[in-house]
């Protein structure tokens, strides 16, 4: 399985994402830079976490308007799998590839800890290696993960099973509406989530809870 990782100035989880994709798929991902207008033929595109463009204006706002994101949008429209983690989620939302917005944590504090996630929908291409309702652990590290959507959008997301991950057991770290941690687009091929599953994929991380997400998305047998 071939994958690509999008690089933008200010991202800092790109190495983690590259390591995770390399270890799980067996092939190092290609990297694409912010000014690239074309993305090679790949099965999966990942946008890592960090602080692209210093979080200026709004988190992900500048990155979302870079040429590479037009290429990501074209690939997503063609059905290629796209994952945005943390800042990557913020970028996908700002680019209009996912609905809603990510706002400042209600605590106004940067949160860096482990949370629990419920697999709200195990019928997506990102969660098919998990059981419905399964609780997994995942690290989070962000200042602006407070997901918000207007009532109509929220009802649609919930009704169509587009809420894929929810903070569980009182571990919502940011005040997000309906405890939403991750959503997919209508077509189901674009996922955004605030937690960092790429940081829990091998024994040395203290667990492999995040591995199933990448195995699902890459179509790799567990």
């Amino acid at each position: 399985m071939k994958s690509a990782v999008v690089l933008l100035p200010g991202l800092n989880r790109d190495r983690d994402m590259i390591a995770a994709l390399t270890k799980i798929s067996g092939t190092p991902p290609v990297t694409v830079w912010q000014t690239d207008t074309e993305i090679p033929d790949v099965d999966l595109i990942a946008i890592p976490g960090g602080f692209s463009f210093g979080d200026y204006l709004r988190c992900g706002a500048i990155a979302a308007r870079m040429p590479v994101m037009r290429a990501v949008a074209e690939k997503a429209a063609a059905g290629v799998t796209v994952i945005g983690v943390c800042n990557g989620f913020q970028i996908l939302v700002e680019a209009g590839l996912l609905p809603g917005a990510l706002m400042r944590n209600t605590s106004l504090k940067f949160v860096c800890r482990q949370v629990k996630l419920e697999i709200t929908n195990a019928n997506t291409m990102f969660t098919r290696r998990y059981q419905p309702g399964q609780i997994i652990r995942s690290p989070v590290a962000h200042h602006d993960g407070n997901y918000f959507a207007d009532a109509d959008t929220l009802a649609r997301l919930e009704g169509e099973g587009q809420v894929v991950f929810r903070y569980a057991e009182g571990t919502n770290p940011n005040g997000s509406i309906n405890d939403i941690a991750g959503i997919v687009n209508e077509r189901g091929n674009v996922l955004g989530l605030m937690p960092h599953p790429e940081n829990l994929i091998e024994a040395a991380h203290g667990g492999t809870d995040g591995r199933g997400l990448f195995e699902s998305a890459l179509g790799i047998a567990a």
């Binding site: 204006l57 706002a61 308007r65 917005a101 706002m103 944590n105 209600t106 407070n146 918000f148």
Partner: protein, 80 residues
């Protein structure tokens, strides 16, 4: 040249924890009767343009495309 001020504010009903924190800090400083504080952003923009209507249309497009996130924010444009 045309100068403009753009103000971006959160829509009603969108929680503003930063505004709340500022509100509490103002009360802490002894300013009584502060009802509510909402935080926004301001942009002063200079345009090499003489047609006011064209400038206004461009500035609105800038807000829609970048300066405001219309999911959560409103904006207003004032030529100064």
């Amino acid at each position: 040249m045309i100068k403009a001020r753009i103000t971006v504010t959160l829509k009603n009903g969108v929680l503003d924890p930063q505004g709340k924190a500022i509100e509490h800090a103002l009360s802490g400083l002894g300013f009584g009767g502060v009802g509510a504080v909402r935080q926004g952003k301001g942009f002063d923009v200079e345009l090499a343009e003489s047609d006011k209507a064209k400038a206004e249309a461009d500035l609105k497009a800038m807000c829609d495309k970048l300066l405001a996130n219309t999911v959560i924010e409103n904006y207003s444009v004032t030529l100064t």
